[in-house]
Amino acid sequence: MADIDIRAVRKSYGKTQTLHGIDLSFASGEFVVILGPSGCGKSTLLRMIAGLEEITSGEIAISGRVVNRLEPRERGCAMVFQNYALYPHMTVAQNIGYALKVAGVSKSERETRIEETAKIVGLSEYLARKPAALSGGQRQRVAMARAIIREPQVFLFDEPLSNLDAKLRVTMRAEIRKLHQRLSATSIFVTHDQIEAMTLADKLVVMNKGHVEQVGQPLDIYHRPASTFVASFIGAPAMNLFNTRVEVETASVLFGGAQVPIDPVLAASLRGRDVTIGIRPEQCAVSADGRGVPATIDFIEELGSGRVVHAEIDGLPFASVIGEHMSVRPGDRVGLELPPSQLHVFDRDSGRRIDIEINSSFPQQVAGVSQLAIVH
């Protein structure tokens, strides 16, 4: 177990800078998920921690020791790769035991430890097989076993689930979580899947274009996204966002020809400012009687467990999640109610969140959410 400090780390490939000064620190035993869109630099960061990529500037310290110039094997990290990177010419046992063999561990000890590890991941019966003869999930387990056997201080996962099918992904997600609870080594898990991120993380790091956008607990980030980017990246269907301007007099913003009330305290502090307002689809209600912002229903997606109404307001798309019981059809003109407590306000230029009373507003919001959920 080890804590990790990342200080002002930058990475450039030739002239293009990929990471623009990352500062992060992870506590020992924490399960950290790094989430971000493709190409944002997640893997690069992870691989710099592993020692597979040189650090252009800045420092990475593991357990307080700066590792910048250490080779991968000296850093005490183990890594699970997206494509598992199993050695195709070795059996499962050999794959799992390779690190020990390199380390010069005696054959008998190696065998004992391979068996132990295989038991943990449920592979005992497959030790003699080659990776080619394994299913996707089993391969994934071999990759995990290979990491576990080294008893590393740090586990690194680079999108280890993205090659699995939907069903298996859910299962393996659970297994990784369990494994972490059992071994409690510091784990860093890279993904671009927000569900994975939400369900796995103790600490969630959202990255975008080589910057850290937000760090925090998953639910905290879900409920208080620090920027429009985070807001739209986390949650599905994505948060609805629209640009407008705050009117202090009415404590509201103008949207789709209607006045949407907002928190007056907030409104006062934002007078006349250009803002972006966000609201999650599952938190705005559709009223057939025309209350709220007038909208035209574009089309409706039936999910079985619910429906997503895709509406148009002022030509902009707007989504809302509704229950089965409401009868709406494409082309209907409806009203969308946007509860003030559920609105997220962002600065239009910087895209950063604007909050007035950070501490007081949060519990309210949470309470509000649950109420809404019950209503539906």
Binding site: L52, Y87, V102, R150
Partner: protein
């Protein structure tokens, strides 16, 4: 392996394949038939009626110690040539695969000898490694007769093998480099995470994963060594099979026997033996190319 998507026409494929099939029938199968015929007759040099002699030609070939000598020389040539080309190619490929600054230039340079004809290379090497000139002259001055391919069959054989290896190392290099680069980078990275250093990675991961390429090259180079056009060219232009049959490889002997010795029949018999030998290689190779030694 079959393609799933195909067109349905019976005459189009024939039309498309015909030109080459015709050429092959003419210049390959028909001559092969003639070789068969000559191998069982005594073909007079200037042509004319030839007497059927059964297996006599083969008897003669097999009872000729110099024939067996040529088999041995060919084997040594092909085996050593193959080993050296692959070894040199492998070492260089592993080095270049590390992608240090400047390795691109080396990659570019290494392939160049492939362009050179065996005979031209042979002539140049005759000068470069000539016992009374340059480097070797100095060595010979210190240790008399240390290097004298004109005198010692073994030296001459080394000389032609060196030329062969020089010319083909760039070729194997390219294939091996490609092989290395198609080994998923994450595998070497995984090995690095597992604690293996660069050399250990090369031995434990890269080389085993190159097995298909290595085997492919082994067969290609063996065939090249036995019957490649450069093999004849190199031997003919540097040592002419000498000294004292020391570098008389099978192809050289066949050509020499036919055109110098005017013994078309004996040469044909030897050709047939060689063809049989190469067929075995071909067979192995096809088994291999169709069913690669894949781990997947």
């Amino acid at each position: 392996m079959e393609k799933r998507a195909v067109f349905n026409s019976w005459w189009l494929p024939i039309l498309f394949a015909l030109p080459q099939i015709l050429l092959i029938l003419l210049f390959f199968y028909w001559p092969a038939l003639a070789v068969m015929k000559w191998a069982f007759t005594l073909e007079p040099p200037f042509g004319g009626a030839a007497e059927f002699v059964g297996l006599t030609n083969f008897d003669e070939v097999f009872s000729d110690p110099f024939y067996w000598n040529s088999v041995a020389v060919s084997l040594v040539f092909a085996l050593c040539g193959t080993c050296f080309t692959i070894l040199v190619g492998l070492v260089l490929a592993i080095a270049v695969d590390r992608r240090l600054p400047g390795s691109g230039l080396f990659r570019f340079l290494y392939i160049l000898p492939y362009a050179i004809a065996g005979p031209a290379a042979g002539m140049a090497f005759r000068f470069i490694l000539s016992p009374e000139r340059g480097l070797m002259a100095s060595v010979n001055a210190a240790f008399p007769d240390f290097w004298n391919p004109a005198k010692y069959g073994s030296h001459a054989l080394i000389l032609v093998i060196v030329i062969f290896a020089w010319k083909w190392a760039g070729y194997t290099f390219i294939f091996l480099l490609a092989g290395l680069q198609s080994v998923p980078r994450s595998l070497t990275e995984a090995a690095a995470m597992d604690g293996a250093g660069p050399i250990r990675r090369a031995i434990d991961i890269q080389v085993p994963l190159l097995a298909p390429t290595l085997f492919f090259l082994l067969v290609i180079m063996m065939t090249e060594g036995f019957v490649g056009s450069d093999t004849f060219g190199i031997v003919h232009s540097t040592t002419s099979g000498g000294p004292n049959h020391g570098t008389e490889v099978m192809v050289f002997r066949i050509v020499d026997e036919a055109f110098k010795g005017l013994n078309y029949s004996g040469a044909s018999a030897q050709s047939i033996v060689l063809i049989g030998l190469i067929m075995v290689f071909t067979f192995i190779q096809f088994r291999f190319i169709e069913k690669r030694v894949h781990y997947k």
